[in-house]
């Protein structure tokens, strides 16, 4: 069940009515409804994997309690590693088995040894990376004595499987979401309207920008040998906007839906393409994952302490692990390593925390240096996306080879005017709203109601008439 599907358009109003009208008097009933709705939502993908989700939830719930009640350190450590081991074991088997098996077979074949491994052809359960990370953060926080375990199983299950964030995040923290689950929610008009606006903007990003960009990016990337360098440039541009609008669009919808239900989820994107350097980009892109890696990997590894060599090692570890989290393919590892390389000069020059504010804050336009920095960061990021999008490392390099050939200066073979116009409009709205939570948060709030509604109606019509052919959300595969 996609957020942009007819089935979800039926599912959510039903949940809304039951949630605010039928179960709102008792928190336990309301939470139980959320759990049933979330499990139903997940089962619509594949009911078999629901058992995996329930098992993972039970595991973390009980190990959390066991750790808390452990009488000595060793016992606590045992339960902690049991949970981490099983969680990562599941992730490893479901997500990485095929990759390791193929890589090993390829490596042995290079050495002249032909193997015939038993192929499991494991299917990746939707959202496994996301709910595993939810569970891990909970277990780690209990182990580190940052939080106490939840004693109510329903509340914990809602934390792991809350349907807006179940299949593609944001990756929530127990410290942030659990208290909201544990206290009664009150319907607030302004929040609900804000949530709806964010859903609308998310749908526009996903269905109009991302899906239309995807159509062209797929044509170019799937048959790259037939196109000129300039068309390759368009392909990268389209994919750059596709991945951003696809994922941030999904996050906007998730955040908006949660807000309608009275929850505030972690912000996942903050206008990353307006970043002035790579460090800023990573503070603004997939924030919930970056901060997860920072808190549960980078800092335990020593973070920025312990000398330059250790700093650099930690930097590469976190980026490569992040790449690997995205998928079991060498292309993702290279993408991660490339970003670490981009980051390295900033780290060495201690300039990785210079751009902490919003670009051109309080001004309409950026200064020339700001503009140049934004363009440079955008180009570096877009270049790295080539590896992310390509099927293999070889096809990424052949794409780059054509991109930088002499045909780069020819007229692109694919130049969709309407989509380019949409992109320009989209960038302008994002720029105008860059100081807000999401671009439409205060956009047009001062306009008279007919104009305001007219604008929202126009967005609905754009979605209705110009949405591209439906594509699965990219981040579902992670």
């Amino acid at each position: 069940m996609f957020f942009n599907s007819y089935s979800f358009a039926l599912f959510f109003p039903v949940v809304f009515v039951l949630y605010w009208f039928l179960t709102n008097r008792k928190l336990a009933t309301q939470n139980f409804l959320l759990l049933v709705a979330s499990y139903f939502f997940y089962a619509c993908w594949d009911y078999r994997f629901l058992f995996l989700l329930i098992f993972s939830t039970l595991l973390d719930y009980f190990t959390g309690l066991k750790m808390y009640r452990a009488e000595n350190k060793n016992s606590k450590k045992f339960w902690f590693w049991l949970s981490v081991g099983i969680n990562l074991g599941f992730l490893g088997v479901f997500k990485y088995y095929n990759f390791f098996e193929k890589s090993l077979a390829d490596a042995l074949a290079q050495a002249g040894i032909h193997t015939d491994f038993y192929t499991l052809k494991i299917i990746l359960p939707v959202g496994i990376s996301f709910y595993t990370f939810h569970g891990l953060s909970y277990v780690i926080d209990i182990y580190k004595d940052r939080i106490k375990p939840v004693t109510n199983f329903i509340e914990y299950s809602v934390f792991v499987s809350f349907f807006p964030l179940l299949v593609a995040g944001p990756i929530e923290r127990a410290t942030h979401l659990l208290p909201q689950i544990q206290k009664p929610r009150v319907f607030e008009y302004n929040k609900a309207v804000d949530g709806l606006k964010q859903v609308l903007w998310g749908l526009f990003k996903k269905m109009v920008i991302a899906d239309n960009c995807a159509a062209y990016a797929n044509i170019i990337f799937n048959d790259s040998a037939s196109y000129s360098g300039s068309t390759h440039l368009m392909g990268v541009l389209f994919f750059t906007f596709q991945i951003y609008c696809d994922f941030s669009g999904y996050s906007d919808i998730a955040l908006g839906i949660a807000r309608i239900l009275g929850f505030e989820l972690l912000k996942n994107f903050s206008y990353p393409y307006f970043s002035r350097d790579i460090a800023e980009f990573w503070r603004r892109w997939h924030i919930s994952l970056s901060s997860w890696f920072r808190d549960y990997l980078y800092i335990p590894l020593g973070g920025s302490r312990g000398g330059r060599a250790k700093n650099i090692r930690n930097l590469f570890i976190i980026f490569i692990v992040s790449g690997f989290w995205h998928g079991a393919n060498w292309t993702f590892l290279i993408w991660g390593a490339l970003n670490a390389l981009y980051f390295l000069p900033l780290l060495l020059l201690d300039r990785n925390r210079t751009n902490l504010d919003v670009v051109a804050q309080g001004r309409v336009l950026p200064t020339l240096p700001e503009l140049m920095n934004m363009l440079t960061t955008f180009c570096l990021t877009a270049f790295a996306w080539i590896f992310f999008r390509s099927e293999s490392v070889a096809s990424a390099f052949s794409y780059i080879k054509i991109l930088f050939s002499r045909t780069l200066f020819s007229m692109p073979q694919i130049l969709p005017n309407r989509l380019l116009l949409f992109l320009v409009g989209f960038i302008i709205i994002e720029w105008m709203g860059r100081e807000e939570n999401y671009a439409l948060a205060s956009f047009g709030n001062n306009w008279p109601r007919p104009v305001r509604w007219g604008f929202r109606l126009a967005l609905v019509f754009c979605i209705y008439f110009w949405s591209g052919s439906s594509q699965q959300f990219i981040y579902f595969q992670f």
Binding site: F187, Y189, W453, R456, L457, F461
Partner: protein, 290 residues
């Protein structure tokens, strides 16, 4: 909460009203209204087998076609509702339209709520109606004067594999009677509007004829022809004679066949108050042997 629900309802109402107005305006602005207009409807056979540009140059009429590949019965229902009274109409009588899966009915005819209600009366489920609506969300220019003929070659192209038709003709579709009914209702609506109708039946490649004749529901297809044919008082036929292969694939003429048919048809197009059905056949020398 009350305020929220009222605003949501008001916004949804606004969306619905705007959409309905849009479709109404769209249909009324795109409908050709010249007196000598001939409204054409059919599926890919009508689209590929008639040269509209030639017809527009060589006859006193202006042909505006709603024919497109993959057209379904929904499109015919919309067509029969859109065509103004007393118009000249050319339609195709096609088995494929009746056999084609309900959910594949499409011609970008825009969402027409009356036509959808007519489908509902003929046993379309809500899911099927939603699917039809989805296919028609973005309207296409319905009445067009362009077409695109298939290239001439000595052999036919097997882009539509025989196996596909073997599957189609293997079992009588459950919706066969519903679609037949909609076809009849559409023609009756045109007759009620006092339209002067000419219906065309296009030939198939002999291999496909054979499959059809061996089909377990061949008698139903013959009955369908008889029911439809019963609405047309005049019967006529056109024999296509040409040098060389006239078929592009199993169901369509190539440009040679299409041009030959178009030249012939000019003399057969007499729009009068008695509806006419014209059976198009290839001459025996143009009928390939299997």
């Amino acid at each position: 909460m009350k305020r929220f629900l009222i605003n949501i309802a008001a916004f949804c109402f606004l969306v619905a009203v705007t959409l309905a107005s849009f479709y109404w305006l769209y249909i009324h602005f795109t409908l050709p209204r010249e007196k000598n207009t001939v409204y054409v409807w059919g599926d890919s056979q009508m689209y590929q087998d008639l040269d509209l540009q030639y017809l527009n140059k060589n006859s006193p009429h202006q042909f505006r076609s709603a024919a497109l590949s993959g057209a379904g019965i929904y499109d015919f229902v919309v067509f029969s509702r859109l065509v103004p009274e007393n118009s000249n109409v050319v339609i195709q009588i096609s088995h494929t339209v009746v056999l084609r899966r309900k959910t594949v009915d499409r011609n970008y005819s825009a969402v027409n709520f009356d036509a959808l209600a007519q489908l509902k009366k003929n046993n379309y489920s809500i899911t099927e109606l939603v699917e039809v609506m989805k296919n028609n969300v973005v309207p296409h220019k319905i009445f067009d004067s362009k077409n695109n003929l298939f290239p001439v070659a000595d052999t036919i192209c097997l882009a539509q594999p025989l196996s596909l038709f073997q599957t189609v003709y293997a079992e009588r579709p459950s919706y066969f009677s519903d679609k037949e009914n909609l076809y009849l209702e559409g023609i009756n609506m045109l007759l009620k509007k006092k339209c002067k109708i000419i219906a065309l039946t296009f030939p198939k490649y002999p291999l496909l004829n054979e499959i059809e004749q061996k089909s377990p529901f061949y008698n139903d297809l013959l009955a369908f022809d008889a029911h439809i044919g019963g609405l047309f008082k005049n019967k006529d036929s056109i024999i296509i004679k040409a040098q060389g292969n006239i078929f592009y694939d199993l169901t369509h003429f190539n440009a040679r066949g299409a041009q030959q048919l178009t030249t012939e048809i000019v003399t057969h197009l007499k729009f009068d108050n008695s509806p006419t059905i014209i059976n198009v056949k290839p001459a025996s020398e143009n009928t390939p042997t299997n």
